[in-house]
């Protein structure tokens, strides 16, 4: 059979078999016991032409309903400038392997170096790795870093205000890795300072994980938390939505040791869950404990400034079971999205995006509350572009009606709360449509 991805003609195959000294392609598998061989072809469809494939994906696309997005919970519908799609499609970036051969991989290494710089500046911490799968796994890796750093202590404290999906991933890694996770209780939408202090005082804590903004969109005050952690020889780990760090107090400014989180909102499409980008930044003291790839600058034997993968002695292909992590590839191309996005937007652009989103969120919260059908769950807490409303109506039925109306009204929390996000993608009319829908309840 011929296929447009296979260059082999029957003549080519004959020439090659002759060189090898076998008479058929099947003879290349004479070492595979007969009992193991496929007795019949796979139960798969016949080969599809490119047109048929395109039609198939069009049909799948038509089976989705496009909804106006008021959902967030770590992933946001943001405007991606046209340059991103154009530049990331360069096949030299897209089809390259991990840059183990620096002589022919400077493009990849160079943008990762830029990415590391940008993430370091956003988080206010000195070192960034080359990227992580997503914010949830990055947070789990940070937890394992803290435990490895603490040596004999293997308990971590996690705020109850952390995104529950992230928490579930932390719990999974902890269960199998032999780490005890304790929850710091929440009080009125923020992490309880009292519970934090008493659990920290109980001893044995390797790390404390909190979020900024937290799951409810609230920007918490962590004054003194890093000092308390350090006095207890614990690391202070902050999970933050990357773009928000252009506006809110950074992990570095709070005195955190590790910053992790999702960076999807730096120019990546939502794509029903991925690929996204996780990031992990840390203080210089923790550099050699970091998981994943790290790019460094050096010089070559011709005197050029060049970039290489460095500190590889931490990694799985060298250290095997003693590696700091099992991470091999990460999200290379997604780091390029973030690098290009932050380059075109600059500080002013990121802050403008945050300001636009925040303004829309506050207007929306006010208008929704004015309907008398829902109210801010935590009215005294400061938020940026995401907030929780408690509803006075049947949320099941509302969610259905919203879908009918072409609106994704947020992410449900429990029986009667809704986590609502606004971004620069929403217009005045979109807000009005949402408010109208609530009025009908």
């Amino acid at each position: 059979m011929s296929h447009h991805y296979f260059p082999h003609t029957p003549e080519d195959i004959a020439v090659m078999l002759e060189r090898i000294g076998v008479s058929s392609l099947d003879d290349l598998y004479s070492d595979v016991p007969e009992s193991l061989r496929l007795k019949q072809p796979y139960n798969l469809p016949a080969p599809q032409s490119e047109k048929e494939i395109r039609d198939f994906f069009d049909t799948l696309g038509d089976h989705n309903q496009r909804l106006k997005c008021f959902a967030g919970a770590g992933y946001y519908n943001r405007y991606a400038p046209a340059v991103i799609g154009s530049l990331i499609s360069r096949s030299e970036f897209l089809t390259a392997y991990t840059p183990y051969q620096p002589e022919i991989s400077q493009g990849t290494l160079q943008y990762i170096f830029e990415y590391q710089t940008i993430m370091s500046r956003l988080t206010g911490l000195e070192i960034s790795n080359a990227s992580m799968y997503d914010g949830a796994t990055a947070t789990a890796e940070a937890m394992m870093m803290a435990v490895a750093h603490a040596r004999r202590r293997n308990r971590v404290l996690v705020s109850a205000t952390l995104n529950p999906a992230v928490r579930e991933v932390i719990d999974t890694y902890a269960t199998y890795h032999g780490i005890t996770v304790d929850t710091i209780a929440e009080a009125d939408g923020v992490t309880s300072r009292e519970d934090f202090e008493s659990k920290l005082a109980a001893g044995d804590v390797a790390g404390v994980i909190v979020a900024a903004p937290n799951y409810y969109g609230i920007v918490e005050d962590y004054t003194g938390w890093a000092d308390a952690c350090h006095a207890a020889k614990s690391l202070f780990i902050m999970n933050c939505v990357a773009i928000d760090l252009a506006t809110i107090k950074t992990p570095g400014e709070w005195g955190a040791d590790i910053a992790v989180g999702d960076a999807q909102s730096l120019g990546m499409p939502l794509s029903y869950g991925g690929p996204y980008l996780g990031y992990l930044c840390a203080t210089k003291a923790l550099m050699r404990k970091m998981p994943g790839r790290i790019v460094g600058a050096t010089t070559d034997d011709r005197g050029n400034r060049v970039f290489v993968l460095t500190l590889q002695a931490r990694e799985q292909h060298i250290r095997r079971e003693k590696a700091t992590s099992n991470i091999c590839s990460n999200q290379g191309l997604m780091a390029l999205y973030a690098t290009i996005y932050t380059s075109v937007m600059g500080t002013a652009g990121l802050q403008e995006v945050n300001s636009l989103s925040s303004t829309l969120a506050h207007v929306l919260a006010e208008q929704l509350a004015a309907t008398g059908k829902m109210h801010l769950t935590y009215p005294d807490r400061p938020f940026l572009n995401e907030f929780v409303m408690t509803v006075d109506f049947d949320l099941d039925s509302f969610m259905e009606q919203a879908t009918d109306a072409g609106i994704l009204p947020g992410v449900r929390i429990g029986r009667d709360c809704l986590l609502i996000a606004a971004t620069e993608m929403l217009s005045d009319a979109d807000l009005m449509a949402y408010v109208q829908l609530v009025k009908l309840q």
Partner: protein, 489 residues
């Protein structure tokens, strides 16, 4: 590929007052919602650049990069096959691009059908009962698969199984994933022919063993023909057999891991199923399990209801959650486009053509490169450096000399069984012409090694940059522009 280095950094192109974006004006008056102590305190220093500058910068940068679209990657164990262009269309389809992961199932039936379709197709190809697409990469799949295995043992109250056996030829991620999953690693030796020594394995199998991890064919490209016996030994000992799918490609159309007796497996979509490597991600590492283990797969799962619609569920028996979302959806879309294109007939051919290409290269070069293990290989094989050991030319030198000729280097110094490992995997998408040219270059390098060894030893000569000082990079790490400026001043 541009042979002149372009090494500028975006920070060096920044000029105060320039900008590269445009945003709509807000109809509302901006108000600062945060108290001063919760605001960013230090100024954020990001590049200030206009759009044309950004475009030229990254275009120029890309020209110093080598990709599959540039040339041939004989990179063992990495399966660098062609990345079809229709896959990219599928990945960026506007019908999915702006879908939030929290979209209700009712409004995402197309996306869920894509997901479910790939799940069952991978199950058919792997000979497994069910797949999850949640894991983000091969190593993440290994970790998830090992968690499935631990969840299975725990569900039976069998808590003492804390060991995982891996062959000495295993990929480095195997022991690293086992360690992250809280398992202890025991290594089993290879025989001189590169396959697992069954006699060495037998005494290691006791009631403390959770799993045996293998890849088949192994990293030497040799099919482990004792696999039925190994599977029986493993299962008799109460352990499960894990298939590292990194080497699945040559088995396409020939044999399925499930039929070989494997219980749990992962697949690297960026290898076998043609999704681009992206310079080191995003990949995807779907995990498949045999019947009876489905309930341990991670949450959330995509299932089909009796009425033919799809839903996302979470179950209490699951090992837990390993990802924030359902996984790298757009990577799954690419893999599905690839399977649809090859279809049943193409899928039956892919593995055989990959194996044909590998054996042809091996037979064409084994007189000048040392072939430690004779016989038919599968998708890849390993040379132990040059046949003539008197020249002082190493595998590293050969690899770097290949760069001069417009090829990516093979995988070198892996597996660890030989001193001068040089591992070649051509994949099925390389033509006889490309392969013949590669063989000619490899023979030229062997001749150069004998006649003008210094030319090879000092390679590369024709790449954008020369040999980087790795020692300096590791000794005094400079990992950000700030450190670079501080370091230079």
């Amino acid at each position: 590929m541009n042979r002149e280095p372009y090494s500028k950094l975006i920070f060096e192109l920044s000029r105060p007052g320039r900008r590269g974006y445009s945003l709509p004006a807000s109809p509302f008056k901006a108000a600062n919602p945060l108290p001063a102590n919760l605001m960013r305190q230090t100024p954020l220093d990001l590049p200030e650049v206009d759009e044309p500058t950004v475009v030229r910068h990254y275009n120029n940068m890309s020209t110093n990069n080598f990709g599959v679209d540039t040339g041939f990657y004989p990179l063992g164990s990495c399966t660098m096959k062609y990345n079809p262009k229709i896959n990219e269309e599928a990945a960026r389809h506007p019908g999915f691009a702006s879908m939030h992961p929290a979209t209700p199932a009712r409004a995402s039936q197309g996306a869920l059908m894509l997901y479910y379709t790939l799940q069952w197709m991978l199950s058919e190809i792997g000979g497994m009962a069910e797949f999850t697409l949640n894991p983000f990469a091969g190593a993440h799949g290994e970790l998830t698969g090992l968690m499935v295995i631990r969840a299975y043992h725990r569900s039976r109250g069998d808590e003492k199984r804390t060991k995982v056996i891996v062959p000495d030829s295993a990929h480095g991620t195997n022991p690293a994933s086992a360690a992250v999953a809280g398992l202890e690693i025991v290594e089993v030796k290879s025989r001189p022919d590169g396959t697992v020594d069954v006699d060495d394995l037998r005494p290691l199998l006791d009631d403390t063993v959770a799993a045996v991890m293998m890849t088949n064919p192994n990293t030497l490209g040799i099919f482990e023909k004792n696999i039925p016996e190994i599977a029986k030994l493993v299962h008799d000992a109460g352990a499960l057999l894990y298939y590292d799918g990194a080497n699945l490609n040559p088995m396409l159309g020939v044999a399925r891991p499930g039929d070989m007796g494997f219980d749990v497996m992962h697949i690297n979509l960026h290898k076998t199923f043609s999704t681009p490597h992206g310079g080191g991600g995003p990949g995807a590492g779907p995990v498949g399990v045999r019947a009876g283990l489905e309930q341990f797969l991670p949450n959330p799962r995509v299932v089909r209801r009796q009425d033919g619609t799809f839903e996302v569920i979470s179950t209490p028996d699951a090992l837990g959650r390993v990802s924030g979302t359902l996984g790298n959806f757009a990577v799954a879309a690419r893999a599905l486009a690839y399977i649809l294109s090859l279809g049943r007939d193409g899928m039956m051919m892919a593995g055989k053509l990959a194996t044909l290409n590998a054996n042809y290269i091996k037979e064409s070069l084994k007189d000048v490169y040392r072939l430690p293990i004779e016989g038919v290989c599968k998708h890849e094989f390993v040379f132990d450096g040059l046949a003539d050991k008197s020249t002082g030319v190493t595998t590293l030198n050969v690899a770097k000399r290949l760069l001069d000729h417009g090829y990516h280097a093979p995988t070198i110094y892996f597996p660890l069984l030989f001193h001068e490992s040089l591992m070649i995997e051509p994949t099925e998408t390389e033509s006889l012409d490309t392969i013949d040219e590669f063989i000619a270059v490899m023979r030229d390098i062997a001749r150069e090694a004998a006649e003008t060894p210094d030319v090879v030893k000092t390679a590369p000569h024709n790449t954008p940059i020369g040999h980087p000082d790795d020692t300096e990079a590791a000794l005094h790490p400079v990992t950000t522009y700030q450190q670079l400026v501080d370091h230079d001043s």
